[in-house]
């Protein structure tokens, strides 16, 4: 397994270089350093000299290949540099400031969603073929058709304005953060409930018709034990695939949630950078996103091997 992991890590290098190149090309296709300069210079109509000075200060006057090599080298060494915005804040400083709120929301949503969705899927599977199953599946389809934005607005209205038990936005550090992340976590769980529950139900139903389940029932094992012990363990592989792919989100934050609930996390950092055409920050965020995704995939593979003894990583 160690050899496999090392090989996957080595494969990651060209992938990351490719991601950097793609981002670089995309940047020059959609905007230009002059655009960045104009956006970041506070004058109403900056002079050509001011634009030139800005480009020089931020290294955009160098040949493009040099810019690419310099910035990519920095990313691989985790030297993310400074923002292109006014003031030029160090990107790593901002990442250190912003990762925790994102992580808090994402990890709590992740755990709560996993528990709620798996339990719900098992319960629905327990009543398979009944009216309850049909009703629950229909409800899931309806819930899947509703846009995420509506969950946020309804969540803010219901818990914040109608029941008045959570703030509609904001964030304070420490224990006080629980007060603020409750609503985004509830929204995330409710919004993700339908699709995941339906998916897990399918995984579980695939297992329920297997011979070993029939054998367990024939031996007189209770239905709940069959479901929660035997079936759940064997349905774990596809569940792992689905859940581990969500891990990068734990670090990168949720753009919509953070934006609406006013959470000072990494998701917002990326959105601001895109809106302000802060290429330095976008570049660093895309690189980190790619890196975390690759790590997530490796973890998925390792998870397979741990969950299913038939899987061998070679």
């Amino acid at each position: 397994m160690i050899g496999y992991i090392i090989r996957r890590v080595l494969y990651a290098v060209p992938i990351l270089i490719g991601v950097c190149l793609f981002t670089f090309v995309l940047f020059y296709l959609t905007t230009s350093p002059q655009d960045l300069a104009r956006r970041n210079l506070s004058a109403k109509n900056p002079t050509p000299q001011q634009i030139k000075d800005w480009e020089h200060t931020h290294g955009y006057d160098q040949p493009k290949w040099k810019q690419f090599v310099r910035t990519t080298e920095g990313l691989f060494l985790f030297r993310f540099g400074k923002s292109d915005g006014v003031g030029g804040q160090r990107i790593i400083t901002r990442i250190k400031q912003s990762w925790l709120p994102s992580f808090e929301i994402a990890s709590l949503s992740f755990i709560a969603s996993l528990l709620v969705n798996l339990t719900a899927a098992l319960v629905i599977a327990y009543f398979r073929g009944t009216y309850f199953d049909s009703a629950a599946t229909t409800l899931c389809v309806i819930m899947m058709s509703i846009t995420y934005l509506l969950y946020i607005i309804v969540g803010q209205y219901t818990l914040g304005r109608l029941m008045r038990i959570t703030p509609v936005g904001g964030y304070l550090p420490g224990w006080q953060s629980l007060h603020f992340i409750m609503l985004p976590v509830v929204v995330a769980v409710v919004a993700g409930f339908a699709s995941d529950t339906r998916l897990y139900r399918t995984f579980i139903l695939d297992e329920i018709n297997q011979d070993y389940v029939r054998t367990a029932r024939a031996k007189g094992i209770s239905e709940s034990r069959v479901l929660f012990i035997h079936v759940l363990k064997n349905a774990a592989v596809p569940v792992i695939t689905n859940t581990v792919s969500a891990i990068p989100g734990l670090f990168l934050g949720s753009v919509l949630l953070e934006n609406f609930f006013n959470i000072p996390g990494l998701g917002n950092y990326l959105v601001d950078a895109i809106n302000n055409q802060d290429f330095a920050v976008v570049r660093a965020n895309v690189f980190i996103g790619a890196l975390v995704t690759i790590i997530g995939f490796i973890m998925t593979d390792v998870g397979y091997a741990l969950a299913d003894p038939r899987v061998r990583l070679e």
Binding site: D35, S42, Q50, W54, T57, G88, V123, I165, N268
Partner: protein, 676 residues
């Protein structure tokens, strides 16, 4: 005998305890986005849509950035909070009004020769005993006294080519020796050397023996300097802070205003607290007619600021802002497209719900002008021939400003007749620009007179094509574009849109590669000169005179006007400028922007000021009212959650029955060993 097991009691009592704990937790919950420690403090809660660009006073020039820098930094002057028509300058750090003396001296020209010029010498005096805020950049961490040299350091820094100061062009050619200083340092930077702040500038002078005084020598009369001295861009900066923090001054300001920055959470909030070293300033004792009746003079004579803290919450989403305002957690909010219908059933009328809550509606006309521009160098639409003039007049009369305001900005805006907006000396409310009255019939007649009957270009026999260069990339921009096209196409002209990326658009405009475009200008200071110079030929592209309008008569009157103080003679000259430029139609003046604000009932002294952003210095809060209303508006309601969980429980009852039935079936099979 049916004997219940003790563990069963425990399980049930545990469940009840859990339910009770959950209920207790819910009842203890509240929707306040602020910590308990803040609740009894006099904190003013405001919002920003995003983190500000910079807190560097030499660079900050957008509304959001200046909303903070104007509280953290203080300048020589500040605008009176109440007297706004006309705007009045009050002393802030200044001890006296500057003494302006006309002088004739030999000025050094860029080629090294000397030329006699008639300039002005301005002498300023800073109030003694004022200190910068406490900061580690000073010895012992205690802010040192503010001296005249600090103002001069600010001017040197603004002219530093490495600092993108937005207003440097307003004075670098006027202060004696500043252009040479800039040129010298530009060369140093090109050779990767640091800016030399010690390079002499003859126009920036200290007064020996008077550390609180400084002088500025101008090579031409420039009365507008007084307005520049009210901008935070010219606020004194301690050189110690620049040496210690460098570019980090953008997030670590060291000022001398009423507040200091205590906390900055990126994408979270800015918290400003009272500056212990703040200059002693009091709430104005006099205002405009009606201010006393409006309760705006209740705090007259009290020391500023009137609140302990100002917290700017960074909230990008309008929905969240609106919800927090309705909950009473924000003291002021704007009216946007998101909440327009809920806030105002029709323009200028607040909704009954908000009125019942005591919320007040305030409207402010911005000091700006929106307009279309003809390129006066263009062979078709430009020039000063009668044909071109008639064509521009025709297009101008086809543009329906009222319709544009109604459709594009929900009726918010005032139709413009010329450049100067209301509130600025020289604005004539009775003036009607004959070429800015929408009249399609007359416009068509003028077009025919210009030689384009029904918009047909006789040289081609087809509709006259005018290219409209713009940077309309979003939905709002495209909507505005469609309206403009419809208006001008109604003449029979074919208006062809050319949309560009911003940088390319700016390059085309600066390079004069356009026929027709749209633009806007916001006041730097409340003086007609700041608007009339949009047609002054010395300000041609890439300067603010984007049309490249050039009229010697206009220039002569402009030069005379700009050197005068606000007198009837000056007002007459401004009217003369209007009359000279109106028939030429180099610009099509459309609107002066307007904005609505909603103010909570407990907020006192609120009077929007379109030129100054230091309002929080003057605002006060009726804490008793705020606490009471917030509490009554935000009583937690548990019944919906009981209803939801009750509903879930009831709907799950049949399922629970099925589970129990199946379990019993298994049990029976287990005991008897026979299949049931």
């Amino acid at each position: 005998m049916n004997v219940s097991h003790p563990s069963r009691h425990l399980i049930f009592s545990g469940r009840y305890a859990l339910i009770l704990a959950a209920l207790a937790l819910l009842t203890g919950c509240n929707n306040s986005p602020y910590s308990v420690s803040q609740q009894n403090k006099k904190v003013l809660y405001l919002t920003l849509a995003q983190d500000v660009n910079t807190l560097d006073p030499s660079i900050a020039y957008d509304v959001d950035s200046e909303s903070l820098t104007e509280l953290i930094y203080s300048s020589y002057f500040r605008y009176d909070h109440l007297k706004q028509n006309p705007f009045q300058l009050d002393l802030s750090l200044g001890a006296q009004m500057p003494v302006v003396k006309p002088v004739t001296y030999l000025s050094t020209q860029p080629n090294g020769t000397k030329k006699e010029v008639n300039g002005q010498l301005w002498t300023f005096r800073v109030r003694p005993g004022l200190h910068f805020q406490n900061d580690p950049c000073f010895p012992g961490g205690r802010g040192r006294e503010i001296l005249g040299s600090d103002f001069l350091f600010t001017f040197r820094r603004m002219a530093d080519p490495a600092i993108p100061c937005p207003i440097v062009s307003y004075f670098d050619q006027k202060i004696e020796g500043m252009a040479a200083y800039e040129a010298y340092n530009r060369k140093r930077i090109a050779h990767h050397q640091k800016t030399d702040y010690s390079y002499p500038i003859a126009g920036l002078q200290l007064v020996p023996g008077h550390p609180h005084m400084f002088r500025i020598l101008l090579n031409q009369p420039y009365p507008q300097l007084r307005y520049l001295m009210a901008m935070t861009l010219t606020a004194p900066l301690p050189s110690e802070a620049i040496q210690k923090y460098g570019a980090k001054i953008a997030t670590h300001p060291v000022g001398c205003g009423q507040f200091i920055l205590k906390t900055y959470v990126p994408r979270g909030r800015y918290v400003l607290v009272k500056n212990p070293n703040r200059p002693y300033l009091t709430y104005p004792s006099t205002g405009m007619p009606g201010d006393r009746k409006a309760g705006l003079l209740q705090d007259a004579g009290r020391q500023l600021p009137l609140v302990d803290e100002v917290q700017f919450n960074i909230i990008p989403e309008g929905t969240t802002v609106w919800n927090e305002f309705l909950q009473g957690y924000l003291d002021i909010t704007g009216v946007s497209q998101n909440n327009f219908q809920q806030a105002m059933p029709r323009p200028d009328v607040i909704s009954p719900d908000l009125k019942a809550r005591g919320v007040k509606l305030r409207k402010v006309v911005s000091l700006d002008i929106n307009y279309y521009i003809f390129n006066m160098d263009d062979p078709v639409v430009g020039g000063y021939s009668q044909r071109a003039r008639l064509l521009r007049q025709a297009v101008s009369m086809a543009v329906n400003s009222k319709e544009e305001i109604d459709l594009e900005t929900l009726g918010l805006g005032m139709q413009a007749q010329w450049l100067t907006p209301p509130g600025i000396f020289g604005f004539n409310p009775n003036y009607v620009n004959p070429y800015r009255q929408f009249n399609l019939q007359k416009a068509k007649a003028l077009l025919a007179e210009a030689g384009y009957p029904k918009g047909i270009d006789p040289s081609t026999g087809k509709p006259l094509v005018i290219y409209y260069d713009n940077s309309a990339v979003n939905a709002q921009g495209r909507q505005a574009l469609a309206i403009t096209q419809r208006e001008i196409d109604s003449l029979g002209i074919n208006l062809v849109s050319r949309s560009w990326r911003n940088a390319e658009f700016q390059d085309r405009i600066n390079g004069g590669r356009f026929q027709f475009t749209s633009w806007g200008w916001v006041a730097d200071y409340p003086d007609s000169e700041n608007f009339a110079f949009l047609l002054y030929s010395r300000n041609k592209r890439p300067g603010p005179n984007v049309s490249n309008y050039s009229n010697p008569l206009y220039d002569a009157v402009f030069r005379k006007m700009r050197s005068l103080n606000d007198t009837p003679q000056r007002a007459a000259l401004i009217q003369q400028l209007t009359d000279i430029s109106a028939p030429d139609c180099p610009l099509i003046y459309t609107s002066h922007s307007e904005a609505y604000g909603l103010v909570q009932p407990w907020l006192l002294n609120y009077k929007p000021n379109p030129i100054a952003l230091d309002g929080p210095d003057y605002l006060n809060i009726n804490m008793q009212m705020r606490t009471h209303l917030r509490k009554s508006w935000n009583q937690p309601q548990i019944w919906p959650i009981v209803l939801i969980f009750g509903g879930i429980f009831l709907s799950a009852l049949p399922a629970i029955g099925v589970v129990r039935k199946r379990s019993r079936r298994h049990l029976r099979r287990d005991h008897t060993g026979a299949a049931q």
